[in-house]
């Protein structure tokens, strides 16, 4: 049985990508694995900013980070729920993985662990300036992944 991976994250979700992944899994009679990555870079950046220039100590900073992470986790569960409903409607076998950390490394881990055939990833729209000076992490994933990656631009 083939495995299709849909990669969602705190800042990368798309209804079109969800539809595409569910339909692809149905067409290929594949199992749909949904990976939700909670990105920690932004909260870490805020925590660092507080430590570096902020007026407040560790406890409020930690409480704030926890509040943000809780929100991100809840958002992840909601997104997973949406995909699960669509998968059930289309009679597609479904598995879910929630994790936090680096987008590329976590995606590669799951691709390897589930022996994924095709992965669907979402690329955020970026300004021409950013495109010129830096590579998107989805491009990096495409380069390093052992499977085919279908990219959706948000």
């Amino acid at each position: 049985m083939k495995n299709i991976l849909l990669i969602l994250s705190t800042s990368r979700t798309s209804q079109d990508a969800i539809e595409y992944a569910v339909n692809l899994a149905k067409k290929e009679k594949a199992k749909l694995v949904v990976l939700y990555i909670i990105e920690t870079e932004l909260t870490q950046e805020i925590f660092d900013k507080f430590t570096d220039i902020g007026f407040i100590g560790d406890k409020p900073s930690t409480q704030l980070t926890e509040a943000i992470m809780k929100e991100y986790r809840q958002r992840g569960y909601e997104e997973m729920g949406k995909v699960q409903i669509r998968a059930m409607e289309e009679n597609v076998d479904f598995d879910a993985v929630t994790t936090q950390g680096d987008f590329v490394e976590k995606s590669l881990d799951v691709i390897e662990r589930y022996k994924i055939d095709t992965a669907v990833a979402i690329k955020r729209k970026r300004s021409v300036f950013l495109k010129y000076f830096s590579k998107s992490i989805v491009d990096e994933l495409v380069e390093r992944a052992s499977c085919k990656i279908e990219v959706f631009e948000e």
Partner: protein, 475 residues
């Protein structure tokens, strides 16, 4: 063990890995060069060395290559090492009144947060006035502002964020899509930013500026005096800010009764108001009244420290609680900035720099204030507002002498705009917190923030020209 292979081209890897050493080598070379070039006319050798150190600190503060506090510590050490001031005088500046005021304000702010008083006030006010979408928006905006009059704006943002997040979730607002959610989180950030400039308590930058002014010129700015100067500007900005929030993000929600459930749950969770909350509240009222009425006579730092002692006499907090709420490292930043500012002033470097670099184009005091406030408001969008003060204030105080301008005026022109960072998440922690919610994007914040920043600069300059003379501050 997992091995990760870096697949980038070798030249990219080498370049990336050597950037930091190259940066510090280049910085060392700039410092060596500035120390060794022939001393320009009108500048003493001590002034030249102070200026070299200032340039190095400026680069480090702007680039964030080192933590702000470490750059400041370096400044304290280098001032006596370079012979700009003697050791005793340089280290004594760390014991400046402003540093102890900031320390006292940190501890008092920690006590208010730890007691739960601030959260209770916040929830009760939102519940009382948040009956309509506009009412709720206004109550979050004004609450963030008013709380920032009395405690650190960063602490206020951190404290109110979970409440606003629960409101947004309770109302089923869609992250990144709902205009109302965008306006709620921006109201939180802007409220903290605008309210934070109203008194000495909103952030450490104003006491820092007052401390630098006192060390350089002996002039003191009182708590009440500062509040009188800035307060009308704050009121106008709050009014414009509210209009801006409703215009930039037109309301897309009619019913907010679900938010009431959030408040009811929160109020129930808070329980009855206890002894600690009452006592901390009364102590804060007495302390703020003392700052307003007796700061010139008793000294702002003395009042702050007496209030801190009273906290412990009344057993309202334990030292362990305070330790968790205070960012001790950042106090070093302020001590170092004051030392560097005093070194620039006392060595004549500040006046020389002001006359040489800026003197040619500045031909009127009004223009000087307009340009310095513009420079401040632009710089503060990209770097720590305390660092902006540390960089610009010594030069601008030097500039004041050229026009017989009261250095107090130029201090206001730097200290007030330094807090008005509206545009980017990196500008101030309050903005970063709002964007981290995911309900408002950095792009939304920048679009509205740029308009607000320009408006704030115009309002500030109009008030300086029109209102300040009423208080006897003539430009």
């Amino acid at each position: 063990m997992k091995v990760i292979i870096d697949r980038r081209p070798i030249w990219v890897i080498v370049l990336v890995r050597s950037l930091r050493p190259i940066f510090f080598l280049a910085l060392g070379f700039i410092f060596w060069y500035l120390i060794n070039i022939p001393t320009p006319s009108g500048l003493t050798i001590q002034g030249q060395r102070a200026l070299a150190l200032f340039v190095v600190c400026l680069i480090l503060w702007v680039t964030d290559a080192l933590p702000l506090a470490i750059t400041s510590l370096m400044a304290i050490v280098m001032v006596p090492l370079l012979g700009v001031m003697d050791k005793k005088a340089a280290y004594a500046l760390f014991g400046n009144e402003a540093v102890f005021f900031i320390l006292g304000a940190f501890i008092l702010s920690a006590a208010v947060m730890h007691s739960g008083l601030a959260s209770r006030i916040a929830v009760l006010i939102m519940d009382r006035f948040g009956n309509t979408p506009k009412g709720l928006l206004a109550s979050i905006f004004l609450l963030a502002a008013v709380l920032s009059f009395f405690m650190s704006e960063h602490a206020v943002a951190a404290m109110l964020f979970p409440i606003v997040l629960e409101i947004a979730k309770g109302l089923n607002l869609k992250p990144g899509k709902s205009n109302y959610a965008k306006s709620l989180f921006l109201a939180l950030a802007w409220g903290c930013v605008i309210g934070g400039v109203a008194t000495f308590l909103g952030g450490a930058r104003v006491p820092l500026a007052a401390g630098m002014l006192k060390e350089a010129t002996g002039i003191t700015i009182g708590f009440f005096e500062y509040t009188m100067v800035v307060f009308p500007t704050v009121v106008i900005l709050l009014f414009i800010g509210y209009i801006g929030l409703t215009r930039f993000f037109p309301q897309d929600i009619q019913d907010i009764h679900l938010a009431k459930d959030v408040f009811a749950r929160k109020i129930k969770g808070l329980g009855k108001m206890g002894y600690t909350e009452y006592a901390v509240g009364i102590l804060m009222l007495i302390t703020i009244s003392s700052w307003l009425l007796f700061s010139r006579m008793a000294g702002i730092a003395n009042i702050a420290i007496i209030a801190v002692v009273a906290l412990f006499v009344l057993k309202l907090v334990r030292w362990k609680d305070i330790e968790e709420y205070v960012n001790w490292g950042i106090i070093l930043m302020y001590g170092g900035a004051i030392t560097l500012g005093a070194a620039m002033e006392k060595s004549g470097a500040a006046a020389w720099l002001a006359n040489t670099v800026i003197g040619d184009w500045a031909n009127s005091p009004v223009l000087v204030i307009a340009v310095f406030s513009l420079l401040t408001i632009l710089l503060t969008e990209g770097m720590s507002n305390a660092a902006v003060i540390a960089i610009l204030l010594p030069v601008s105080i030097g500039m004041a002498g050229r026009f017989n301008l009261d250095p107090q005026i130029i201090t206001y022109a730097i200290a007030i705009p330094a807090g008005l960072a509206f545009c980017f998440p990196m500008s101030t922690p309050a903005n970063a917190i709002a964007v981290s919610s995911g309900y408002i994007t950095a792009r939304d914040m920048a679009k509205a923030g740029i308009v607000m920043m320009i408006t704030a600069w115009i309002v500030f300059n109009i008030m300086a020209k029109v209102y300040w003379p009423i208080l006897g501050i003539k430009i």
